[in-house]
Subunit: 115 residues, 2 copies
């Protein structure tokens, strides 16, 4: 199985494309970290079926990411956002003009609110 | 059928999730603006089948957007981006400090490059 944390993050992007049962099982496995046996008992489904569902969801998940790249785009975006905020912060540290600082702070707030 | 331009824009976001045949037909209909009869002739498929494929793709497209909201997110994001760029531009117009203006221009360039 894939790395739990990575899969859990990836699943957040595409969760809406899965069925309720798939979402339940994926959450129990990747977020609650339950074993196949525990999930099998809770959901009244065979251990083998749970295993197959998780495997199929993983395959589907990687396929969605390969096609839509939502996680990749989001990561690149967040890095760029961090760097832009840092640059604005550097200007604020360098200048003492109160009006300028206020304006830059407002822009930073807007950038933080985006996505 | 849905509005052509709107559907064409929406399809750009989710095209990768459709089959090659579906993509071909959707492009001929929504981008090249061919009639069902023309598409039927080009693709050697019955007019009724073309109609059904376009209808099914539209349904699927609206379902994807309802779930992932990529177009909605992208539009909100672009509006916010425009407003942030305008604010940075206003500061540049107001101040004459060459070093400050250069720094702000660099930030604007970075913001334009994001997504």
């Amino acid at each position: 199985m894939e790395d739990h944390v990575e899969t859990s993050i990836l699943f957040d992007f595409y969760e809406s494309l899965f069925t309720e049962k798939q979402v339940d099982i994926m959450n129990l496995y990747y977020n609650e970290n339950l074993s196949l046996a525990e999930i099998s008992e809770i959901t009244n489904t065979s251990r083998q079926a749970i295993h197959d569902i998780i495997k199929r969801c993983n395959k589907q998940l990687l396929d969605y990411e390969e096609k839509l790249k939502l996680m990749e785009i989001s990561r690149n975006y967040n890095e760029m956002k961090k760097s832009i905020l840092q640059s604005l912060n550097d200007i604020r540290d360098e200048y003492s003009d109160v009006s300028l600082i206020k304006k830059l702070e407002e822009i930073e707030e807007n950038i933080k609110r985006v996505l």
